[in-house]
Amino acid sequence: MKINKEIRRLSRGMLRASFTDGELDPGRIASLVDSLIARKPRHYIEVLKHYRRLLRLELEKRRARVETASEADSAIRSELVANLKKKYGSDLTTEFVVNPQLLGGMRIRVGSDVWDGTVRNRLERLQQQL
């Protein structure tokens, strides 16, 4: 899909307006979308689509995904959440996933940063090096 400059500018402006105090504000987002739909400017559907994509990327930056091989106990979880919040800001949401394929250890992904301490990753690197 070709996105023209106008669409890009408008959706970026909407994204900039959807923050209060550096955090995404659902109320503002809803009102922005409503007002756009009410005004119906040119290409407003494309603007909304692009805005949705920008929002999704923005949300991904504030979402931590913790993968463990087995269920992590609650003490570790709460410590992890606290540490991640200290590093990435208080509006970080954390999601825990159990993935037995990792064999052991933990893999944390926040936005595009990944910390990989899983056994599988180490085995793969060992395989590469040998």
Partner: protein
Amino acid sequence: MSSILEEIETKIEGLKTSTTKSNVGVVRETGDGVARIEGLSDVMLNEMIEFPNGVFGLALNLEETEVGAILMGETTKVSEGDEAKTTGRLLSVPVGKALLGRVVNTLGQPLDDKGAIKTETFYPLEKIAPGVIKRRSVNQPVQTGIMAIDAMIPIGRGQRELIIGDRATGKTAIAIDTIISQARLNKAAEDQGDKNYRPLYCIYVAIGQKNSNVARAFAVLEKEGAMPYTTIISAPASDTATNQYLAPFAGAAMGEWFMDNGMDALIVFDDLSKHAVAYRQVSLVLKRPSGREAYPGDVFYLHSRLLERSARMAENFGGGSLTALPIIETQAFPLIFRQT
């Protein structure tokens, strides 16, 4: 036997404690040898990106939410949803004397069934050309062996001289003759034990040519005994546009090694018009804005930064040199069409 076991053990020990931090993105779109990746917030321009299955890419476009990367190797192995990782490395090729006598591809991998190339040094493809202080003026001739050229328009070591003309006018022949002439001079000096003669090593970069043409050039050089002083880099027409685009830079990197180590080298780019076409293709699939005849705006910069890397180094910087002979094919109308 036990030493091997110990070695493996220490390697495992070394890996045990490490948790790696990396920067990843997700492939959103792929095709035509190009991938668009979402994420990768820490990627740098021209950085290598690692895909699953051992495929590597080169980040060429850094956009607001996406990264456009050109793929090397088996591009069909990359699919949508794959995780791509930054590596923090620049694309580099093996350099050194082990490459002499070999036919290699853009990445320096052998194509001639003569076994692996053992080198310890790697040079990045893109390098900033030596500046004013490091250079000196050209002061030693390159004997092309063609009397008309050597008498009327002699070229020197560290010079760059364009060979331009229509198709089938003998541009490649001049370049091949020059390479053969260098090999003869090198051999003669070697036989006489002349320590003062500086041998001139040659690199022939074939971009977008027919494989048969490359094979013919190789056969001629082999027959004339020029191969021991020559490296052929082959990115034929069947190769990906990425490899054709990178081939001259790989050649320049290999030539620079000779220059940096106080030796002399000659590099032939055959030909840069096909290189520009490969770069045009890469740029168009990356959706870069295009200019006249759809060539991207930076095609001039592409060639000037490539040729600027040939230099004659000053005495206190090793005194090496890299001579470049770029070839350009002009597109004149064939006579048959002109008459109508």
